[in-house]
């Protein structure tokens, strides 16, 4: 595949790895968090951790959209499907996120809920057009990458006067989550999460640009390298982070120049801010309430806001006590530190959200890296 295989070239990888091995100083610690699930997946799938020296460690961050979705939000969507009998449309991974009462959207479907998997939000709008006698709700989740398409269909629904359609908006914001991690006691006081730099998101940064990360580099003295999701991108970003640390720099660098600019996609940003606005606070699985970390639908589009339309209040639900997803999402623990990892909690029967999506730290490790613990 042109434009893909070039970024998965094993020979080029060897060169970058040789540079990493040469430049990583043995007395120094290099602990980097890859924020995005896309990077977590690439690291596991291509066995990148195996290629790094022992003092270069990758910490998985909270950037997996279904992983940070709290139980209470999935419960809302399930109630809409089972009690209000609406058609709930959502992305595939969201269907399997465990919710209250041993349910998930997929299990709600088996109990008679009309839950449909879609690839694009446009399909949710089409479902509404095709079923004028039914109410259709798009259960919208994700970071800044998936936000513009959600904003667009809300606008389209209003322009076309589609009255049977609304959106349950759960879009969250990357910079707020990074700030939250940097300010957490584990990073600032206890040092239980050694954090020397970030691999910045790929697709999110296409939308928001590299500028929002400058704050972290300057204020917290943490280098950030924005990287694409291919394995060579990740290796190159690790090398760039090592160089920043060796040279005492803390800057925002852009490895993903083929797609990311400093300003980002201004048209998409304008679309989002026309339709959506900041929530004062939003609960994240693992991180808890994070101020100004998510978006809701603006009053001008209130007709398309499922939360208002159906008057469904939000009720927080605690995670299963044995589940360590919270600590794993904050980088405090590794998947294999969790007692239920690979026993009670597997991709077939996920107890926690990190075991659901292939971008989740637990699912990625379970699917791709288990052989490491056995040798």
């Amino acid at each position: 595949m042109k434009y893909i295989d070039e970024f998965r070239d094993g020979e080029l990888a060897k060169n970058i790895v040789a540079n990493i091995l040469r430049e990583a100083e043995s007395g120094k610690r290099y602990s980097f968090m890859e924020f995005c699930g896309g990077h977590t997946h690439a690291i596991s799938r291509y066995g990148i951790a195996d290629l790094l020296p022992a003092n270069v460690r990758m910490i998985h961050g909270p950037g997996c959209p279904v992983c940070v979705l709290p139980i209470g939000r999935v419960d809302q969507a399930i109630r809409l499907a089972l009690e209000r009998k609406v058609i709930v449309c959502t992305y595939a991974d969201t269907l399997r996120v465990p919710a209250s009462d041993n349910l998930s959207l997929m299990r709600a479907k088996a109990r008679g809920g009309d839950v449909r998997m879609i690839y694009s939000p446009q399909d949710a709008l089409k479902t509404a057009r095709d079923n004028p006698q039914r109410e259709v709700v798009f259960f919208a989740i994700g970071f800044e990458t998936t936000t513009p398409p959600t904003a667009l269909i809300i606008k389209q629904a209003r322009d076309e006067g589609i009255a049977n359609f609304s959106v349950l908006c759960n879009h969250v914001l990357t910079p707020a989550a990074i700030t939250h991690i940097l300010q957490s006691p584990e990073v600032r006081q206890y040092g239980t999460v050694p954090l020397d730099g970030f691999i910045g998101p790929a697709h999110v940064s296409v939308v928001i640009g590299s500028q929002p990360y400058e704050h972290f580099a300057h204020e917290y003295r943490k280098p950030v390298v924005i990287a694409g999701f291919e394995p060579l991108d990740v290796l190159q970003a690790i090398l760039m982070l090592i160089r920043q640390i060796n040279e005492g720099r803390a800057e925002v660098e852009n490895e993903f120049t083929r797609a990311v600019t400093r300003e980002g996609n201004l048209k998409a940003q304008a679309m989002v801010s026309e339709v959506l606005e900041l929530r004062r606070s939003f609960e994240w699985r693992g991180l808890g309430e994070v101020p100004y970390s998510a978006l809701k639908i603006r009053p001008a589009y209130v007709l398309y806001d499922a939360e208002t339309r159906y008057g469904i209040g939000y009720k927080p639900v605690a995670d299963n006590k044995a589940c360590e997803c919270g600590a794993i999402l904050r980088g405090v623990k590794k998947p294999q530190d969790c007692k239920v990892f690979g026993t009670v909690c597997t991709p077939e029967n996920p107890l926690g959200s990190c075991m659901v999506s292939s971008e989740g730290a637990c699912a990625a490790h379970y699917s791709y890296g288990r052989f490491r613990e056995t040798v």
């Binding site: 998965r8 060897k14 066995g47 597997t346 052989f371």
Partner: protein
């Protein structure tokens, strides 16, 4: 008066505009007419012509192999095939990978009220053509009709009977460390052909299903006398899931080489686009063979000489592993687990 209507006075089925209605499953004259004009006409053979509740077949001698497979694929018609030929190929392959010569098929239809007779005829004719081409007659069958909304057009269950070739012992539990894993061709064609025609996802790619009957290829492979431990067709769950089944059954580890696995560029690109892994996408005309290392090259040559094995390749080795992992050397230079398929990558693929 003997209750029969003279032939000339019965209006034939309106195949062009007609639709399946509840009477076609009632057991009455409408059902008899549907069977006679549509099914029997297409499948015609001496056993079916007996016209009894079951087919009376000559005993084959030796060990019988029997396999059954229900087909619920959506859409019913897809590039490279349809539910009809798929239902014939699928069951023939299940019998053949046991090391058996497939002899007879049965076919059972669940029809949804309102299903166009023209579509049904197209499907039945495709089945008949596939059965004839494979030389495996459909000798008995059944038809039921359910109300609209209780099924999705047509579901077809086929059962196959075959006779195992003498001295052939194939099983997923036979694999030993050192054995070689061969693959008959490219992965993911069927699944991606279906995906490209899904209602909410249509995209324009020249991908055709690989649906095919593998029994002739298998017969050629068995004739070599190579020490074949196991044959499998990697259908639902794809190559990855089938290899995990074998690793578990045989209590061995399997190590495959990513670069050796044939995947067509267009399939790889479509998978990339949709976030799917070709190793988990269904195939309907490919097989995995695991054989003793000494016979691998010889077997590969025979596979490559057959039209259905032109892209055959050696893709890996079995080794001792108490965890029975399937692992892969990635093209990138790393190593990783290749796990069972989790959840549902693609519903109703066959």
């Amino acid at each position: 008066m003997n209750g029969e209507v003279k032939k000339g006075y019965v209006r034939g089925l309106d195949i062009k505009n007609g639709r399946v209605d509840m009477s076609h499953g009632s057991g009455g004259r409408a059902m008899a007419q549907l069977i006679e004009e549509l099914f029997a006409a297409a499948f015609d053979n001496e056993y079916l012509r007996q016209g009894n509740d079951g087919a009376l077949l000559p005993t084959a001698g030796g060990r019988l192999v029997m396999a059954t497979d229900a087909h619920v694929v959506s859409p019913l018609f897809f590039p490279g095939g349809d539910i009809g030929c798929l239902s014939v190929h699928g069951t023939i392959n299940d019998v053949a990978v046991m090391g058996a010569k497939p002899l007879y098929l049965s076919a059972s239809f669940i029809l949804e009220e309102g299903f166009p007779l023209a579509d049904l005829q197209r499907i039945v004719q495709s089945m008949a053509a596939a059965a004839r081409e494979a030389g495996v007659p459909i000798v008995t069958g059944d038809t039921k009709v359910v109300e609209q909304g209780k099924a999705d057009g047509v579901f077809i269950t086929t059962t196959g009977v075959g006779v195992a070739m003498d001295g052939v012992e194939l099983s997923g539990s036979n694999v030993r460390p050192g054995d070689v894993i061969l693959l008959s061709g490219s992965m993911g064609d069927h699944g991606m052909a279906i995906m490209s025609r899904r209602e909410n996802l249509a995209f324009e790619v020249p991908i055709e299903s690989d649906t095919a009957a593998l029994h002739h290829l298998i017969a050629a492979m068995l004739e070599t006398g190579a020490d074949i431990r196991c044959l499998r067709d990697p259908t639902r769950g794809g190559l990855a899931t089938t290899l995990n089944e074998i690793a578990k059954q045989s209590s061995v580890g399997l190590m495959i080489n990513e670069e050796a696995i044939p995947v067509k560029p267009v399939v790889a690109a479509a998978c990339e686009f949709l976030g799917l892994d070709p190793l988990y996408v269904a195939n309907e005309g490919k097989l995995i063979a695991i054989c003793a290392a000494a016979d691998a090259e010889r077997l590969l040559e025979v596979m490559r000489a057959h039209p259905l094995g032109g892209d055959a390749a050696i893709i890996g080795l079995a080794h001792a592993d108490p965890h029975h992992f399937v692992q892969m050397k990635t093209a990138f230079g790393g190593r990783r687990n290749v796990d069972w398929l989790a959840g549902e990558q693609l519903p109703r693929i066959c």
